[in-house]
Symmetry: D2
Subunit: 168 residues, 4 copies
C-alpha cells in the first residue's frame, strides 16, 4: 500500500473520530464555548471551518490515527502488560496521551497550548461524555478525549489568530 | 561577577517573586486547590515543600529571572517599540510569556502541562490579582502571572508523582 | 493486574530496550561522545549512572513501553492501515516518534532538546545500527532509534547539570 | 502606539535580523544544506521562499523581537545581575534561548525540532559566525544564533512538507 494523499488521510482521520463517537459538530460546540466571549460575532460555521483547517495538517492526522489505534488495541486486550492496564485504566501518571497531542496543540502556538490544558481539566461537552464512557471496562477512550480536546484547542487558537488579523 | 551557585540563584528568584507581589504562601494556595480533590490528606506544608523543589531547578530560576526582567523593563518603558507595547499591554497574540514558562512546566511531565493551561485560563487566587494589577498602565505583570501559574502547576505535578509512588 | 511499582516499571523498560537490541553500555557510548569534549574527566561509569537516573523517571518508562509496543505491532502487521505502512516504513512525515520522545527529552530542560536533534540527525553508534536494521521489511525500529537517542540526550543533559553544580 | 499589522511586524523582524548580521541569503544557505540531500531539485529560491513563509508567522516575529532585544540590552549592560552575566556570557545552563525559539520550531512539527537541535550543535555557516562574534565582550548573540538556527530549521521543515505533498 502506498502512503495516502493528504486528502485521503484527512478523510480517514475524520471517519475514525466519528466512528469513535466524536462528530465535528460536537467538537465545534467546544470551540464556540472557548471563543465566543472574545469574539461576539463568532458563528458555528467559523468553528467548523477552523476544525477543518486543523484536520488538514499532517501532524494532526498522524496523532489521530496513532492515538485511536492505541485505544482500540487496549479495548481488544491486544497490548502487552503493563501497557494494556496503564492505557485501559487511563492511569493518571501514564501521560503519553497528553504528550501525543502536543503534535496537534503545538501547530497553532501558545494559545492552543493553554486552551488544551483548560479543556483537559474541565472536560466540557463531548470530552466529558467520552471520558465517562471510557470508564466502562469494555471501552477505552484514553487517547480520544485528549485528541478531541487538542483539536478543539487548536481550532480555537486558529480562530483567535484569524480574527486578530482581520482587525488590523 | 561569577555565576551564582544554585542556592544563591534560588534565593534571587524567590526574592524577585516576593518583591513583585507573589509570596510562596499564595502560590501554595493554588497548588492546594489543584490537588486537594485527588489527595484528601494534602497539607499546605506539602504544597510549600513542592514549590521549594520546583524553585531548586535551574531552568525555573532562569525563567523567573528573565520573565520578571522583561516585565520590569516594560514597566519602565525601556524596551524598543513595538515590543514595549506588546508586552506592556499583555497582547493576546504575543504568546512568548507562555513559551518562556514551558521551561518550568516541562520539567514535571504532562501533568504540569495541563495544570498550567487550566490555571492560565481560570486565573485563581494570586494569579488573577496579578493579572488585574497588570492592567494599570504603570504596572506590567505579563510574564509574572504565567510564571506563578507555571510554578503552581509544576508543584502540583510534583505532588501527584510523589503521592502515587508512596502508594505503591 | 495492578500497576507496577516504579522499580518494576524500570526493569521492564530496561529489559525491553535490551531485548530490542539497545544495551545500556551502547547508549552510554553515545552519552560519552556527546559530553567528553565539555568534561575531560568524564568516565563511562558517569554515563551509565546518568542513564539509570533517566530510566528512573516514570515519563521515560511510559515512552519506552509505548514506542516499543508500536514497533513490535508494526513488525507483526497488527496495526490498521495506513498506520501500519506509515510506521513500518519509517515515513519521514509521520513524526509521532519524535513527539513521543519529548516526554523523555523535556525532563532535563533545553540541553536535552538540542542533543536529541543532533543525535537524531547524525545517528551515531547503536542509533545508526538500529535505524539500518529497521529497513529490513521484517523489522521495525521506527520508535526505538528515537527512544535511544532521547535517553542518550537526556543522560548527557543530566551530566551537564551535575558537573556545572559541582564546580560552583 | 497601536499594534503593528502582520506585514509591518514581519518587516521589523527582518530588518532586526539583517541589522544584527543575519541576512536572508545566509539563512537560506543553511536551509539549502539541510535539505539538498533529500530533494535534488531544490533551489536557493525555494529556500528563500520558505524563510519568507516562516517570517509570516506571528509567533516567529514575536520570538525574533524578544530575543534580539535581550541580546541588545545585554550588550549595553542594561540588564540586572546575575541575568546580565548569564546572557552576555552565553552560559550553557541558561537555556532560555533554546526555549524561546520553540515558538519558531514548533510551528512546523517534529522535523523542525530535530533540524534545530542539529544546527544548534554543528553551527553551520552564519550560525557559527554569529556564535563566534558573540564571544567578543562588547557583543552578545546569545539569542540570535538560536533564532537563526530555528528559522532555518523551520524553513527546512516547511520545504519537506511541501515537496512530499507535491509528490502525492
Amino acid at each position: 500500500m502506498t502512503i495516502k494523499s493528504n486528502k485521503k488521510m484527512k478523510d480517514i482521520a475524520k471517519n475514525l473520530l466519528i466512528e469513535r463517537g466524536a462528530t465535528i459538530e460536537e467538537i465545534a460546540n467546544i470551540v464556540f464555548e472557548l471563543q465566543k466571549k472574545y469574539i461576539p460575532s463568532l458563528t458555528m460555521v467559523d468553528c467548523t471551518d477552523a476544525i477543518e483547517r486543523v484536520l488538514d495538517k499532517r501532524e494532526v492526522q498522524n496523532a489521530v490515527l496513532t492515538g485511536i489505534e492505541l485505544d482500540k488495541l487496549a479495548e481488544e486486550n491486544k497490548l502487552s502488560e503493563p501497557l494494556e492496564t496503564l492505557i485501559n485504566s487511563d492511569n493518571p501518571l501514564y501521560g503519553i496521551d497528553e504528550i501525543l497531542v502536543l503534535s496537534i496543540v503545538n501547530v497553532y502556538g501558545s494559545i492552543g497550548f493553554t486552551n488544551f490544558g483548560y479543556v483537559d481539566k474541565l472536560k466540557p461537552g463531548i470530552i466529558g461524555t467520552l471520558d465517562e464512557a471510557g470508564k466502562d471496562p469494555n471501552k477505552c477512550n484514553t487517547f480520544l478525549d485528549d485528541i478531541v480536546g487538542a483539536i478543539a484547542a487548536a481550532a480555537a487558537s486558529s480562530i483567535a489568530h484569524n480574527f486578530e488579523e482581520d482587525e488590523e
